[in-house]
């Protein structure tokens, strides 16, 4: 599945480095119970259309770069590449200033950021990612060294006016890295009062671990049509 996804993403124009990340994020998400295969399947027509219209599959633009708060515009693309860059920057800045955040504007597939968040937690920082849709605020927290993060929802009716969660950010992704838990807690109390509200845990670390074990035993099943759709996208790639 990884090989098939790599080829499909290479086929739609992702550079080397990018298509490996895409395949890893999707398969990791599926193994840990995030249903990322179904999510990406819905997006295949968009990838296909971008290839047909020769629109770059990923492009970024730095909108604001003041080290404490980086803003990147993903220009309507999947967050696969943008989330990685945003977390790279927040990690580097957190190592010097204790806590840093970044915003990715205009991006899709935001749930895929969870894999990157976990990677960074393994490097010894605490991470947070959050985004909203029209009804809920979705929050992922990952503690230092912990193999699986927690994915929760908060109702948007409890929106308390945090700096970044307004209507303009329906397609934005926010990531935060801190070297200490206390630093992240301080960030949350200052910028995300919503997290004091009632949360619903969608996927706990225990559920994620259990999903991983289950997939190892029972494998990932994809249907024939999806396999063919990926193969069509990868057709242009030489082997």
């Amino acid at each position: 599945l990884i090989a098939l996804l790599k080829q499909a993403f290479e086929g739609v124009g992702y550079d080397f480095g990018g298509y490996e990340s895409a395949a890893d994020m999707i398969v990791w998400g599926q193994m840990y119970g995030l249903d990322s295969v179904a999510m990406i399947r819905k997006r295949l027509p968009d990838f296909e259309q971008r290839r047909r219209l020769q629109i770059e599959p990923f492009s970024l633009e730095s909108k604001e770069n003041n080290k404490e708060h980086t803003v990147i515009d993903a220009k309507g693309n999947s967050c696969i590449v943008a989330a990685g860059i945003a977390l790279d920057i927040t990690y580097v800045e957190a190592m010097t200033s204790g806590v840093a955040d970044a915003t990715v504007l205009n991006c899709h597939d935001r749930k895929l950021v969870i894999k990157k968040l976990t990677d960074y937690a393994k490097r010894g920082v605490v991470c947070l990612a959050y985004w909203r849709d029209d009804k809920t605020l979705k929050v992922v927290t990952s503690d230092t060294g912990v193999c699986c993060p927690e994915y929760s929802l908060y109702p948007l009716k409890d929106l308390l006016g945090g700096a970044y969660l307004n209507e303009n950010h329906q397609q934005s992704l926010f990531v935060v890295c801190a070297t200490e838990s206390a630093g992240l807690q301080e960030y949350i109390s200052k910028n995300l009062p919503e997290l004091q509200g009632i949360k619903t845990v969608v996927i706990s670390p225990t559920m994620m671990k259990s999903s991983y074990t289950s997939v190892l035993i029972y494998s990932i099943e994809i249907d024939r049509d999806f396999r063919s759709e990926l193969a069509v996208l990868g057709q242009e790639v030489l082997v």
């Binding site: 550079d15 080397f16 480095g17 990018g18 490996e20 990923f58 492009s59 970024l60 633009e61 730095s62 770069n65 990147i72 590449v81 990685g84 860059i85 790279d88 920057i89 990690y91 580097v92 800045e93 242009e236 790639v237 030489l238 082997v239």
Partner: protein
């Protein structure tokens, strides 16, 4: 589609070329990075550089992950017209335990796979489990 040999300045299809020129990419990356440092001296992280030069993310990842591994990269100029893909193929196959390479032309090589592996009649009987190591001449 199978890859084939070609001359990128003469023939069409360069956009479909298999990415082999890692050394050249690393050199290009070095040049762009030096320029970025000159222009943005406050950019002290490669992450900032990658926002503007996203197409370099592959070579950056490759350098970050492979540069400390002596056998992580093929040490050679793969863009040289005298470099044979066959040699790369032999190298790759040898990782899988292939031996006794017998090149038949510049394009294909005869070889032996699973030399010394137990055959059906050996199953169930004691046999040495070091068969996948190459056999020294004379043994």
């Amino acid at each position: 589609m199978e890859s084939r040999l070609g001359q990128c300045l003469v023939e069409r299809g360069e956009e479909s070329a298999v990415l082999l020129t890692i050394a050249r990419l690393a050199r290009d990356y070095y040049g762009w990075l030096c320029l970025d440092i000159e222009q943005h001296s406050d950019n002290d992280s490669v992450a900032y550089f990658l926002i503007s030069e996203l197409n370099m993310s592959g070579i950056v990842k490759r350098i970050q992950t492979m540069s400390k591994n002596y056998y992580g990269e093929i040490q050679g100029n793969l863009a040289d017209e005298n470099k044979l893909p066959l040699d790369l193929l032999r190298c790759k196959l040898s990782f899988f335990g292939v031996s006794k390479f017998d090149p038949k032309s510049k394009l294909w090589v005869r070889n032996t796979m699973f030399h010394g592996a137990p055959i059906l009649s050996d199953i169930g009987k004691p046999f040495d489990d070091d068969w996948y190591f190459p056999i020294a001449t004379g043994n």
